[in-house]
């Protein structure tokens, strides 16, 4: 399979006058073409920070970004804004949580779509753009008339679908959903997830799905990356990790979600709080909340290791590729 995006040692920190907050540390993973990767974690674990860094949407005077993010051989973190603009919408696009806020309230959808389309194809005719957009609207199960509406004339679910359709305008190679279905109703969320999965089978699309809801990942992704306090704890295939979570944090997260139809097991919260990200600790970031933490965990940071089933894990319990129970 062909690699689309490879991250190596990506660090993002927010710099203040007297403080530096290490929001993402040593992030490294790769995505193949056609993959759908779910990034999960609590709020404040750096999921969105990482996505914003890949899209270069951070205020660069206040953030420090180091490392490599190779997208088809180009390092996204070193491109100039002009070079980045050439990629946006065309190769990489993003859908945010509140579609309400990402569409202009004073323009019809048609006007906004024409603007976006002409960034990359300045000579496209109105008719051509309309045809393309209507095709996409049908893909997300919306009627044609949406093209002529203003955002306030639509419901939240319709807006979110429109935002997804707009993000597909130039058939991007990579699309990032930043909590794109979180604000929606159960039924609407279920429908949109299903549409997205179906769409992927029709058009080749690679997707990063940022969410805090494990069930969304289970329903719509094939890979999952679990993030905590800016670091990746466990990365692997959904079918492996959900069935057999290995990292204590992944176990904790899965334990705090009730199953829909299975046995009613007691829910357990993860005790404690996120560590202060401005004061990095020498050991594992999760050690202070981990039920299985040892002295070593507090002292030394475990490296990310690859196990037999292809999963990567950063935990002393599994060092050396062996599985201790």
């Amino acid at each position: 399979m062909e690699r689309l995006l490879t991250l190596e040692n990506v660090n993002v920190s927010y710099v203040n006058k007297d403080k530096k907050v290490y929001a993402v540390k040593n992030a490294g993973f790769s995505i193949n073409k056609g993959d759908s990767l779910g990034v999960v974690g609590e709020s404040g674990s750096g999921k969105s920070t990482l996505a914003m860094a890949l899209l270069r949407l951070h205020d660069e005077s206040r953030t420090e970004i180091t490392g490599k993010a190779l997208f088809e051989g180009k390092n996204l973190l070193e491109l100039t804004q002009e070079e980045m603009n050439a990629l946006r919408w065309k190769d990489i696009s993003v859908v945010f949580q509140k579609a309400m806020n990402s569409l202009s309230p004073v323009h019809r959808i048609s006007e906004q779509v024409e603007d976006i389309y002409r960034v990359h194809e300045p000579h496209a005719s109105k008719k051509e753009i309309e045809e393309r957009m209507i095709y996409l609207l049908k893909l997300v199960n919306l009627p044609e008339r949406v093209y002529r509406l203003y955002p306030h004339e639509m419901s939240g679910g319709m807006l979110q679908r429109t935002a997804i359709a707009v993000s597909l305008l130039h058939s991007p190679k990579l699309i990032i959903f930043d909590e794109a279905t979180t604000a929606l109703d159960v039924v609407t969320q279920g429908q949109i997830l299903e549409e997205v999965v179906q769409m992927e089978q029709e058009i080749s699309m690679t997707r990063i799905m940022i969410t805090h809801d494990m069930s969304v990942v289970a329903a719509s992704c094939n890979k999952v990356a679990v993030m905590y306090a800016g670091e990746f704890m466990e990365i692997g295939y959904v079918k492996d990790i959900f069935k057999n979570p290995m990292h204590p944090y992944t176990k904790g997260l899965l334990n705090s979600f009730p199953s829909l139809k299975g046995e009613n097991e007691t829910l357990h919260a993860i005790p404690g709080f996120l560590p202060d990200l401005s004061k990095p600790e020498p050991g594992c970031v999760f050690a202070s909340r981990c039920p299985q933490a040892s002295e070593r965990c507090r002292r030394e940071k475990p490296a990310c290791q690859e196990l037999k089933d292809g999963r990567q894990i950063a935990c002393w319990l599994y060092q050396g590729g062996e599985t201790h129970e």
Binding site: V186, V238, F242, L254, S256, L260, L267
Partner: protein, 334 residues
């Protein structure tokens, strides 16, 4: 159960909440109604947790507000221990407030930002003359906070709401609602604003408090898996009406109403093998502006027939007390 001579603890009788609607096309004096809640009857026993689920705009929160009398229903009444809440609040509002409490969705908006937690927690105790003096009341607060897992309690009492996390605030909100030993608590989406890792704590705390104090709880949520976990019984609402009611396991595992079936099939599960054929329902929920006369769900229902558009279906009850209001139950194998 001998229903004849047994008065349920909370009993809601044909409650409706209609809001007047003034549309563009209306003549002067003409009025339309938004029927947010339209004829809901339900019973909750001591120590029972009733889950209410439905899409947004189905009237679940309005129902909670009626039960706590933050809204006065257009029609119907709810009885607590056989006494009408309408009479209760007229005669002795203070006593009513100590019987019925509510926990709101957003813990950041629940507290006065300018008061310390101590001041916030002491106020209800003072108002209801619980404890002999301030020292004694402080002791009660500290005990309650520690029992709720908030340590060090002395330190938390000194803080302002903005200095605490959402999970801590929501715990304080629940602790405060339990101070007056209410018999009935309405929890309106108490965890939807909280982080996943602390949700379980709040939920377990609610279950424990309800069981130890034998309080009835109405748990309003749109998260079906969570509602099933916490509740004894579940009521499914659609456009202001309860369409299905039964024990939590039965409703989730073998739903009778096509709406519940669709709702559950669209709900993402954390078990990737739980994937099932989703039943799609067309469109968004319509506004509850003069729906009917038939089944409100008929326009979006995959098995609606002519009959469904004519009159609102009567509930069909199974032996276990699980019921659903649908004219086509028994067909299609359901």
């Amino acid at each position: 159960m001998n229903k004849e001579n047994h008065t349920p603890f909370v009993s809601v009788k044909d409650v409706a909440m209609w809001y007047p609607y003034h549309g563009k096309r209306q003549q002067k004096g003409e009025k339309d109604w938004i029927k947010a809640v339209d004829g809901v009857s339900i019973e909750i026993e001591h120590g029972e947790i009733l889950g209410v689920i439905g899409e947004s705009g189905c009237g679940k929160s309005t129902l909670g507000k009626i039960l706590t009398r933050l809204e006065n229903p257009t029609r119907g009444d709810c009885l607590i221990d056989g006494v009408s809440t309408k009479e209760m609040i007229k005669k002795d509002a203070k006593k009513f407030r100590s019987t019925v409490q509510i926990v709101f969705q957003n813990p950041f908006d629940t507290f006065t930002p300018r008061d310390t937690i101590e001041k916030i927690l002491l106020r209800p105790l003072k108002n209801y003359s619980i404890g002999t003096d301030n020292e004694d009341r402080r002791r009660i607060c500290i005990e309650a906070l520690e029992a709720g897992g908030l340590r060090p309690a002395e330190d938390i009492l000194k803080r302002f709401p903005h200095e605490l996390s959402g999970g801590q605030l929501q715990r304080i909100s629940i602790i405060r609602s339990m101070f007056l030993n209410p018999g009935f608590i309405v929890a309106d989406e108490p965890v939807s604003m909280l982080d996943v890792s602390v949700r379980a704590d709040i939920i377990n705390m609610l279950i424990e408090l309800s069981k130890s104090k034998d309080a009835a709880v109405m748990f309003i949520s749109h998260d079906i898996a969570l509602t099933r976990y916490i509740s004894d019984n579940i009521a499914v609402m659609y456009l202001g009406r309860i369409v299905e009611y039964g024990s939590a396991d039965e409703v989730v595992k073998s739903p009778m109403h096509p709406y519940t079936q669709a709702l559950i099939s669209n709900c993402a599960s954390i078990d990737p093998e739980d994937k099932q054929e989703t039943i799609s329902i067309e469109g968004e929920p319509p506004t509850p502006l003069n729906p009917g006369p038939g089944c409100y769900f008929a326009p979006r229902c995959y098995m609606a027939c002519e009959e469904c558009y004519k009159r609102y279906p009567e509930p069909v009850v199974s032996e276990t007390g699980h019921w659903a209001a649908c004219a086509r139950i028994g067909e299609n194998g359901k």
